[in-house]
C-alpha cells in the first residue's frame, strides 16, 4: 500500500473522529440524524483528501531523505 493510500485511510478515520470530538468538547450539534451524518461524511471526505495529500508529501519527503546514491560508472579503457 502506498504512502498516499495510507495517508488517505488515516485522514478518513480522523475526519470521522473530529466531528465526534467537537460534539464532545465543543458546540457541534449532533442531535439530528441527517445533520450528524452530513458532518461525518463531509469530515471523512475532507479528511481523506487532506490525508492523501499529506501522505503523498510524506512519501516524497521520505524518498528524498533516503535516496540511494547512484553508482559510479566503471572506468572504461579505450
Amino acid at each position: 500500500m502506498s504512502a498516499t493510500a495510507h495517508g488517505a485511510g488515516d485522514g478518513v478515520v480522523l475526519g470521522i473522529v473530529v466531528p465526534l470530538l467537537l460534539q464532545q468538547f465543543g458546540d457541534l450539534d449532533l442531535t439530528s440524524l441527517t445533520t450528524a451524518i452530513e458532518y461525518i461524511v463531509i469530515g471523512a471526505v475532507v479528511g481523506g483528501v487532506i490525508g492523501a495529500v499529506i501522505g503523498w508529501g510524506m512519501g516524497k519527503l521520505y524518498q528524498s531523505r533516503h535516496s540511494q546514491p547512484t553508482p559510479m560508472k566503471p572506468y572504461e579503457n579505450p
Binding site: 485522514g11 478515520v13 465526534l20 470530538l21 464532545q24 512519501g59 521520505y62
Partner: protein
C-alpha cells in the same frame, strides 16, 4: 517505530469497531426506548391553548434554545422541570409530560410523567441523565413535550444541555476518541515510510548435511556434528600447564 502490517491492520479494525460502537449506542437506546422518536429528533409542535411553559430549575427553557446557550448539567446532577400551562389548556386534555434527549436523531433518554388527562395545569418532572453520562458528554438536544390522552403531541419545545463529565474528560467516548485521534495522527506522520523500498525477509537456507571425510552420509541418516576436539597429550609426556611458557631454546 512502525507496527507490522498485520498488527496495524488489526489496530485499524479495532478503531473502526470503536467508531461503529459509538454510532450504534444511540441506535440501541432507540430500540430500548418505549416511545419511538421522530426521525429528525424534533417532535412536531402544534398550537396548544394555555401558553405552556417549562421551567428548568426556575429558568424558562427557551433561554437554552441554541447549542451555544446550552445549560450545563454536572455529573449525577438531578434536575427539576416544571411543566405549567394556564387553565385555557384544559381543552388540550394533556395527560403526559415527556422529556427526551436526542443523539444522532434517536432518543437516548426518555422520561415520562403520566397523570389523569385534563386534571392538572402544572406538573413537576425530575430527571437525571442516567448511565449514558458514563459514555458520552457534550452538547445534546432535548425536547420537552406535552401529550394528550390520545397520545398526540400537543406542544413541544427544544432546548440544549451540556453534559459535563468529571474533570471534563472522564467518560468513555472522549477518552477513546482522543486516543484514536493521537494514534491516527502518529500513523499519518509516519506514513512516508510506505514510500521506501520494502525489505524482503531473508530466505531460510536449508541445512546441509556434513559429510564424513572419504565417504558420503548415508541417505536418511541424521547429520552428524563434528565432535569438539580436546588437546590430548601424547603418552609419556607431561601436559603443559596453562600460562607456562617454554623457552625457545629448549629446557635447560
Amino acid at each position: 517505530m512502525s507496527l507490522p502490517p498485520e498488527r496495524a491492520r488489526s489496530v485499524r479494525l479495532a478503531a473502526i469497531t470503536v467508531i461503529a460502537f459509538t454510532l450504534v449506542v444511540p441506535s440501541a437506546a432507540f430500540l430500548a426506548s418505549a416511545a419511538p422518536a421522530s426521525a429528525s429528533g424534533v417532535a412536531a409542535s402544534t398550537g396548544m391553548p394555555g401558553d405552556p411553559t417549562v421551567l428548568w430549575n426556575g429558568q424558562d427553557i427557551s433561554a437554552y434554545s441554541t447549542p451555544a446557550s446550552a445549560v450545563t448539567v454536572t455529573f449525577n446532577e438531578a434536575l427539576n422541570l416544571l411543566y405549567s400551562w394556564t387553565n385555557g389548556g384544559a381543552t388540550a386534555n394533556v395527560g403526559d409530560a415527556r422529556l427526551q434527549m436526542f443523539y444522532f436523531g434517536f432518543a437516548v433518554s426518555t422520561r415520562d410523567v403520566y397523570f389523569t388527562a385534563g386534571s392538572f395545569s402544572s406538573i413537576p418532572l425530575n430527571w437525571t441523565v442516567g448511565a449514558i453520562q458514563y459514555v458520552v458528554e457534550g452538547v445534546f438536544g432535548l425536547t420537552a413535550s406535552l401529550i394528550n390522552g390520545a397520545g398526540t403531541t400537543v406542544w413541544s419545545e427544544n432546548f440544549y444541555v451540556r453534559l459535563a463529565a468529571p474533570y471534563s474528560i472522564l467518560a468513555i467516548a472522549p477518552i477513546v476518541l482522543i486516543l484514536l485521534a493521537i494514534y491516527e495522527l502518529y500513523l499519518l506522520a509516519t506514513c512516508g515510510r510506505e514510500a521506501g523500498p520494502r525489505l524482503q525477509p531473508a530466505r531460510e537456507v536449508p541445512p546441509t548435511a556434513p559429510t564424513e571425510a572419504g565417504g558420503a552420509a548415508a541417505p536418511g541418516a541424521a547429520p552428524s556434528m563434528p565432535e569438539p576436539t580436546t588437546p590430548t597429550a601424547e603418552p609419556g609426556t607431561e601436559p603443559a600447564e596453562l600460562g607456562e611458557e617454554t623457552p625457545p631454546g629448549g629446557s635447560s
